[in-house]
Amino acid sequence: MVRKYKMDFILGLIFLIIAVVIFALSFSLTAMANVGIGPAFYPRLIAILTAMTALSLMYQSYNKIKNEESSDKGKSERSEPILNAEVIKILVAMIVYATLLRRIGYLIMTSVYLFTHFMIVTDKESRRIPIFILVSIVISVVTYYGFRNIFSVLLPSGILG
């Protein structure tokens, strides 16, 4: 349980930092003419509420951590990372996809992405590489031409012109 409360504490801290940043950046928002309370009011209100809530969460979690540790529940918990290897790989694949989508084009990027994703989520024994390649290309082609002709949505053609 301690890990959960530690995470809550960190969450509170993250939000506290966000609140401070929002408040700090609000000083560059100058009100034009005399239009009531101005564009900086609401962000500052939100920032203050966020900071208060974040501090409350940090305080609660801190107390809970202290309670747990004092009641001698000293078992070391196995700490799994928040983002494990597969999640990070998929995220990188997604970000690369979005970055190169317009330049390289939908057909190629989507096929490559799908194949990559298939490979990441399967272990060596369950991989069927020829089928993965086939399915990747089929899905890309079907969606590309389907959306173009049936739904009139033009997808980036990239280097295929």
Binding site: M7, D8, L11, G12, F15, I18, I22, L25, L29, A31, M32, V35, G36, I37, G38, P39, F41, Y42, P43, I46, L49, T50, T53, A54, S56, L57, Q60, I82, N84, E86, V87, K89, I90, L91, M94, I95, Y97, A98, T99, L101, R102, T110, Y113, L114, H117, F118, I120, V121, T122, D123, S126, V135, I139, T143, F147, F151, S152, V153, L155, P156
Partner: protein, 514 residues
Amino acid sequence: MIQSIINGFSLILQPTIIVLNLIGVAFGLIMGALPGLSTTMAIALALPITFAMDPIPAMSLLMGIFTGGVAGGLVSAILINIPGTPASVATTFDGYPMAKNGQAQRALGTAMLSKFAGQLLGIVVLIAIAPPVARFALKFGAFELFALTLASLTLIVTLSEGNQAKGFLSGLLGLILCLVGNAPIDGLPRYTFGFQELNAGFGILPFLIGLFGISEVLKNAEKSRSAEKKDVKIQVESLKGFGISLIELFRQGVNIIISTTIGVIIGILPGIGSGTSNVLAYMVEKKRSKYPEKFGTGIIDGIVASEAGGGGAIGGTMIPMLTLGIPGDAVTAMVLGGLMLHGLQPGPLLFVNNADVVNSIFASLLLGNLFMLVLCYFGIKLFVKVLRIPEHYLYPAIFVLCALGAFGASSRVFDVSAMILFGIIGFLMVKFDMPNTPIILGFMLGSMNETNLRRGLMRTDGSFLAFFESPVAAALIVVAVISVLYPFVKKFIMRSKAKKAEDNPQGETVVLNK
């Protein structure tokens, strides 16, 4: 009211529109039946397909998915003890035991019929109540709209489960994300960090699709290599017919009515919907029952309550969404996004300017409900097959469809990147155990809240107390304040009760339940 229904049906009774509704129901049922996929995602995936359509066919498809999706969860809930959607959580309590006792057919039949009845009654309430509510809301001005959005935001935090502070942070995060873009009234760019594409703020589609769709893909990737590979054995004999007689269903009449009412009321409350109502209806029916000890062993009463409760919420959640533009839950938030995509702004004016579309929505819901029953009756075997699609093909395909959804609305690759960002946020929220309904409401109501606050204060020359001159606004602000203070008051009362028990060991023991 009859007028609206007749008008609505006259608009949708064309072959293409009817077929779209049917396809929607089928798609919704499948997505609902597959655990891990949801009605929200189904609508997200269907949105790009509606781009080229007119509003009425588009709504027919989406309403079909809506009715089918919420119903689809009962299949997996009963057959494999995993609710396909949150609306069928309580169905597992008695549905799965019945399936284990060889009564799968009876359980499924009961669930389908109860869902149909609950949804039907809920939709009828929607059709009856929505127009008068919309007329009332037409008179709302800045004070009332500010107070309404404020009350909605605080209520969903109080009503959502789990840690209150994290619920507040979730809602505040939604408000923070809404800050990005041009400020209301004076149009000054805020927090855009130089990105031109952010002048209009984050798009609602990338937000919703990312938060619900991409986060699921990431969750699936996380457990893809884990050792826990579930070997799902589905006991299926002959699955035709309902397995329950009409007489037995009539005996459940009071159960159905009470459960549906709970569903409608919970649905109306912003932020909570079928996910909460089915469990609540189950608990209420168990308390009401003459044989509560039988609940959980496999009796139809439990299934009836759960499904009718979940079904009633369909109509309920649509009421605030259509009349006020405030989504009742995540699914209706998606539908709201769909309406906005077609240039339709939900709210009281929708009933004035686009009454046709509203009536067609009513009719599509009724038709979809009927198709749901028919498809469930004939199609169970197909759904069971669908439950066997390997996840490692399914989720990558879902990513592609999500990207299409995010891209298609505005033809900007930027939106695909935004979608991925929201996917990361959604995934982290799951990891940190933060509820995801407050953030939706924060994001969607933030600008309405700020705009009306500023407009109201401009009118009263900066005096906030003047807001209370409007009775509706005053009442709603009081509701908001109570909902914020309530958890603290509750804790205080519980603590003083605990102290009393400590001081008086001879007295009755007080059971503290959170």
